[in-house]
């Protein structure tokens, strides 16, 4: 099906690639359907485009590229809500905040969006662990070693698998 977007014009999204966020993203609770868009497949950055509000798109990042061993505790109730049976089925995304000065670009590691890779049901969860920051500076934490690491590559493949390419 075709969906209008502000940034990419009309995009074609297969029903099976739609990310379903039943409770919405905090601040945007009424919007429940999104697509992950790989506008630049060379980067670990993706767009999370609302399919209900053409103006709304978040930049998201593969968190493994900016932090080692990102294995936050997820509540069993959240796993159950998304019908996640195996933790290995969780795809993590962190919402990125771009600012006028790109050196201040941050990612929200405290409230990641988790996706069940099997059915693409998703939820923005709030982690109990206070060491994960809401405004985690990205630039200080990017490294080639992290990018080459196995968990990072794995998450990159997962995100690529569920993403759509815009026809520009």
């Amino acid at each position: 099906m075709l969906y209008p977007t502000k940034l990419f014009g009309e995009i074609a999204v297969e029903e099976t690639n739609i990310i379903k966020v039943e409770r919405g993203i905090f601040g945007f609770e009424q919007l429940k359907r999104y697509a992950v868009i790989a506008a630049d497949p060379e980067t670990p950055l993706f767009w999370l485009q609302s399919l209900e509000e053409p103006q709304l798109a978040f930049v998201i990042v593969n968190p493994f590229i900016i932090i080692d061993e990102y294995e936050p505790e997820i509540r069993p109730a959240d796993l159950a809500e998304l019908e996640i049976e195996d933790r290995a089925d969780v795809i993590f995304m962190a919402i990125v905040t771009l600012r006028e000065n790109y050196l201040e670009t941050t990612a929200n590691l405290r409230a990641p969006i988790i996706i069940n890779r099997k059915n693409l049901q998703a939820k923005q969860v709030v982690l109990d662990d206070l060491t994960f920051q809401i405004q985690y500076n990205m630039i200080a934490n990017i490294s080639d070693e992290r990018e080459a690491a196995e968990d990072c590559q794995k998450m990159k493949d997962e995100l690529a698998r569920i993403s759509c390419s815009p026809v520009l």
Partner: protein, 79 residues
């Protein structure tokens, strides 16, 4: 809103699994103990507000250009 008066040390039960106890009062600070099942998320309200604001800010900043260019800038700066 249900409003109840409690003394220090007294509790309120919500359903069978949630218990809120008034632990300490110091000036305008009140310490509250909460017992809730692990599957129930308990956070200070401002955490949700901060995350909501962060999301709204993140949504506002789109259209800054290509992600490829941004990523290159971020990487180069860090070298």
């Amino acid at each position: 809103m249900l409003i109840l008066t409690r003394r220090l040390g007294e509790s309120i039960n919500i359903g069978n699994d949630v218990k809120i106890t008034l632990l300490e009062i110091k000036g305008n600070h009140v310490r509250i103990g909460i017992v809730a099942p692990p599957e129930m998320a308990v956070h200070r309200e401002e955490v949700y507000r901060l995350i909501q604001e962060q999301n709204i800010g993140a949504a506002r900043n789109v259209g800054t250009g290509s992600l490829g260019k941004l990523w290159k800038e971020l990487k180069n700066k860090n070298r």
